[in-house]
């Protein structure tokens, strides 16, 4: 039996997804047995030139992690798309934008100004900013362009499958490897995790969702037996795909939504906004005038960071409007 050719790539991400491949522990040996790894930036030194020389579709499965932040990310996404039979968005950044996409609350100029000029430890009297090309003694040097907006992988190339999570959990990764290497493929476009929301696997006792007020995680010690939402702590679980083994919940921390929306939903944040606002103080809603409602809503700090922590790039609005 010929071995499959697989590749990993790391675009705009923290790098965790690259390592997450190894979270499957010794099972990686089974993978190696069945597949050649052609590219894996964290572990191998594959040159872009060599990649470009490969024949189209010579990679069987490419696991692409990271969002599209720079022209380099985009270029590699396009090359890998051509070279791969199956392109998998691996992890939340490639899938939905994830934390890097929260930078969509800013643009290139604001980010550069902050990073290169305004940070408290920066001394940059000449206001030097990164340039895409500049002359050195050795000749002209090019560096990738930094985009205003972070995109998801499928916003620049066609994507076959998605592995959700920040990072994808070992069970998800293992299951995906098994499916790809055995040829047992789900329909194109499948997010390879269960379809139900996290509450399905969450063992906490659910009551009536009569939430009078909202607490931030540090403001209240959560009862580890009870549903976070019932305790007034925002948990993205109801709007988030399950399959992660509710690890955060086990650690007595609410779900923040990294597995993304469920299949019937278009915008994870909008749905959670609707769910939360609907049950918030529902018991005594008749007594609340507009002002009181505003006070209550103002307890929810940073709606974007709360409801779109992972999905801003793939949401309806995608980025902040900056004039």
């Amino acid at each position: 039996m010929t071995k499959a050719n697989i590749a990993f790539y790391w675009a705009s991400s923290c790098g965790g997804c690259e390592i997450a491949v190894l979270d499957i522990n010794e099972k990686i040996l089974d993978v190696i047995e069945k597949a050649n790894i052609l590219m894996w930036p964290v572990a191998m030194d594959t040159k872009y030139e060599d990649l470009k020389k490969m024949k189209d579709k010579s990679i069987d499965v490419c696991f692409f992690n990271g969002a599209i932040r720079t022209s380099e990310n985009e270029e590699l996404a396009k090359i890998l798309r051509e070279k791969s039979k199956i392109l998998v968005a691996f992890g939340s950044c490639a899938h939905e934008g994830c934390i890097p996409a929260l930078a969509n609350l800013f643009n290139k100029k604001l980010i550069f100004d902050r990073a290169y000029k305004e940070t408290e430890t920066t001394m940059n009297n000449e206001d030097t900013l990164p340039q895409t090309s500049f002359m050195t003694k050795e000749g002209e040097v090019h560096i990738p362009e930094f985009y205003d907006t972070v995109k998801t992988l499928d916003q620049v190339v066609d994507v076959d499958y998605y592995l959700p999570g920040c990072p994808p959990t070992p069970n998800i990764v293992e299951d995906a490897f098994n499916k790809f290497l055995s040829g047992d493929l789900p329909p194109k476009g499948t997010v390879m995790a269960p379809v139900k929301a996290l509450c399905d696997e969450c063992p906490r006792k659910k009551k009536d969702k009569m939430i009078d007020t909202i607490y931030r995680v540090y403001e209240k010690e959560a009862d580890p037996e009870k549903c976070f939402l019932d305790q007034g702590i925002i948990c993205m679980g109801p709007a988030t795909r399950s399959g992660c083994g509710h690890q955060c919940i086990k650690g007595n921390m609410p779900c923040t939504g990294c597995f993304g929306k469920t299949p019937e939903v278009t915008d994870q944040g909008a749905k959670m906004i609707s769910a939360l606002a609907s049950v918030l103080a529902v018991e005594k809603e008749l007594e609340l005038d507009e002002k009181k409602v505003e006070d209550l809503i103002s307890k929810i700090k940073d709606p974007v960071g709360t409801f779109y922590r992972y999905s801003l790039a793939s949401s309806f609005i995608k980025r902040k409007v900056i004039k």
Binding site: V195, K206, E264
Partner: protein, 661 residues
């Protein structure tokens, strides 16, 4: 006909409505633009779509073009949605696959610029075409009905509702927590504005209810729990132990005449005493005694048993246990009435402290010919006669800061009655009335009030009483005449407070058992304050009487009739029919988060845990009979498991898209 196919054939009929639409909107252009849409098999216009020839044209076109869905671009759906749905049905289509695009009220009538109006009409119609393309073929929901009713509360409202339903031919259970029906009305002396003796008009109704072949009286009973839904409730009734076998008891009265334990009579508002084994009042229905175990010497001290000894037929049963019976019922009428706001709460008037400061209801017992004084008005403190009497209206009512914010509605009229009856009995007496406003909205009420002031010379002072205190034998009432600005002091023999009224004790528990709402003042909350005043938000549960808000007798009786007619109209068919445009929960998607359960105003959703392949599965379960189709759950459902039939989210996205393209 299977019209859920993926390639719909939509027919669009654009109405000119004479010149109503065509005068502003270029209807031909609308039809032309719409005909370019994918899935549109036909688009045409006609001068009056709703006319017979128009409808015929529609039916013929449906057949000729093999249409499976229809959009009529015409007037508001409020007017002709049903007309066109029936017409499509007659042409063999599913009525729920016929939609209306409102291009008259929302377009041609409100715009003048022909070009812009035409563009808008196209957008409106396009959005409705997108909607109809996804509409599924639906059938009405049928829910069977148990044609029996339960009426909770045996006051005049409950009695009337039970009689009306029973007369309609249906078995009715009348549940009353006390041992006799009759409620507050049984305590009243005479009733405004006609001065009928209250018992004389009520007692025949009580007897009628007790003898009615369709009414089963369940007194000394309370609602234990309620489950089920409209047409199919299961109500558990707790029958409290009476300690007397009513099947044997003849009501001879030997037991209560001989019983040595005496306690203040609730019925007589504490003006006289009753025995521990007692009937609340002589005309009680059923006329059978109960033992008040808290005051019975046998239950408390293990001695006595005199009643058992004197009862010749051996009806006394000290070992009687409470009994729970379950009743299947299709409808429930809640008629639990009111109680007086406790006198003790009015400390500024010495309520509960001074024996000669009494409540309106207590005064009724003083006035009543069957009362403990035989209708003689005396001071409770010393039994002396009363010459100067003060009536204080709005005692606890219309007081946002300290007491009840609302108007208790009946007090103006019964105070006028009290003053009038007092003057009839004590000709040389003085009746002073303090009032904020006098509200006499009711048939013949103003005339009655006029008689009180003009013929019987009750002295009305506009102003609130600030303080009542005792001075020797007298009660001194301090108030201000707000019309003159002068301070008023009256030394009276008796002060009668027209107490605010509030819902009966236990309304909160009952409300939770029935899963209905109460308002901010604790009264039952109706489904709609104007249009559905006798219905609860929960289908199949209706209201009668003061439990829903302060009401006098005629209003309570009218509402009881209205509630009964709602029950009867429900019972007039064998099945409840409902539009199928309601929520649907996709079990494969629902994670059981419970958000929808918390927000559904109809309690149509409940948590359900089942086991599937050895794994526990949580989900929300929809009760179709209860869902009214508002769609609030669907918008809130964070996983997209709750959808609205023929109003799905993905459909809405398409409608939005064609409007904005």
């Amino acid at each position: 006909m299977d019209s859920n196919s993926s390639s719909p054939r939509v027919g669009v009929f654009v109405c000119h409505c004479g010149s109503n639409i065509a005068g502003t909107v270029d209807v031909e252009k609308v039809a032309q633009e719409i005909s370019k849409m994918e899935g549109v098999a036909y688009a045409g216009t006609y001068i009056y779509m709703c006319s017979d020839p128009g409808q015929k044209l529609m039916r013929e076109t449906i057949e000729k073009e093999k249409l499976d869905r229809v959009v009529v671009a015409a007037c508001s759906p409020t007017l002709h949605e049903k007309t066109f749905q029936i017409n499509s049905k007659n042409a063999g289509l599913n009525p729920y696959q016929c939609e209306i695009a409102n291009i008259r009220e929302h377009c041609s009538w409100v715009h003048e610029d022909n070009k812009k109006a035409t563009e808008k009409a196209i957008k409106i119609t396009k959005s409705i075409v997108e909607k109809v393309k996804e509409d599924k073929s639906l059938t009405d929901i049928e829910v069977p009905i148990t044609k029996k009713a339960i009426v909770i509360g045996g006051g005049v409202s409950g009695i009337q509702a039970a009689l009306d339903i029973a007369n309609g031919g249906y078995k009715t259970y009348l549940i009353e927590k006390d041992s006799s029906i009759g409620g507050k009305m049984a305590k009243l002396s005479e009733t405004f504005p006609t001065l009928d003796c209250s018992q004389c008009i009520l007692t025949p109704k009580m007897v009628e209810a007790s003898n009615h072949p369709n009414i089963e009286l369940m007194t000394y009973s309370e609602v234990e729990s309620v489950s089920g839904y409209v047409g199919n409730f299961k109500v558990k009734i707790k029958k409290k132990p009476t300690s007397v076998n009513w099947d044997l008891c003849t009501g001879c009265g030997d037991c209560y005449n001989k019983c040595p334990a005496k306690v203040p009579s609730e019925f007589q508002e504490g003006l006289s005493k009753r025995a521990a084994i007692y009937i609340p009042f002589p005309q009680a229905v059923p006329n059978k005694p109960v033992i008040d175990r808290e005051n019975c010497l046998y239950y408390q001290k293990g001695i006595c048993k005199i009643c058992e000894k004197v009862c010749k037929i051996g009806a006394i049963d000290f070992d009687m246990k409470e009994d729970i019976v379950e009743i299947d019922t299709g409808a429930i009428v809640v008629a639990t009435g009111y109680r007086e706001y406790p006198l003790e709460n009015l400390t500024e008037y010495g309520g509960g402290k001074y024996p000669n400061v009494i409540s309106g209801l207590k005064f009724e017992r003083l006035l009543s010919a069957s009362g403990p004084t035989g209708g003689q008005i005396i001071r409770p403190s010393d039994g002396k006669s009363v010459k100067d009497i003060v009536f204080v209206q709005c005692a606890g009512s219309r007081d946002i800061e300290e007491h009840k914010p609302y108007c208790s509605k009946i007090c103006c009229m019964y105070t006028a009655k009290h003053a009038m009856l007092f003057k009839h009995k004590v000709h040389d007496g003085n009746a002073y009335v303090f009032y904020i406003d006098v509200r006499t909205a009711g048939k013949d009420y103003e005339e009655f009030y006029y008689r009180t002031t003009e013929e019987d010379h009750a002295l009305y002072t506009r102003g609130k009483v600030s303080k009542i205190f005792e001075d020797g034998e007298k009660v001194v009432v301090w108030g201000v005449d707000t019309l003159t600005g002068k301070k008023v002091e009256i030394k009276a023999d008796l002060a009668v407070l027209a107490m605010a009224i509030e819902p009966s004790v236990g309304i909160k528990e009952l409300q939770q058992k029935l899963k209905i709402s109460i308002d901010e003042n604790g009264f039952l909350k109706e489904a709609h304050p104007k249009l559905r005043p006798v219905e609860s938000m929960t289908s199949g549960i209706f209201f009668a009487g003061a439990a829903q808000g302060p009401k006098d007798i005629p209003e309570s009786v009218s509402q009881a009739g209205a509630a009964a007619s709602k029950v009867l109209s429900m019972f007039s068919s064998n099945m409840l029919h409902k539009e199928p445009l309601i929520c649907e929960i996709d079990e494969d998607v629902c994670s059981g988060c419970g958000v929808c359960i918390a927000l559904c105003p109809y309690k149509a959703l409940e948590a359900e845990i089942t086991t599937k392949e050895g794994k526990e599965v949580k989900r929300s379960k929809l009760n179709e009979a209860l869902c009214q189709g508002c769609g609030t759950c669907s918008s809130a459902c964070p996983s997209g498991a709750a959808t609205m039939r023929n109003d799905e989210t993905k459909n809405m996205f398409k409608m939005i898209e064609v409007i904005l393209e």
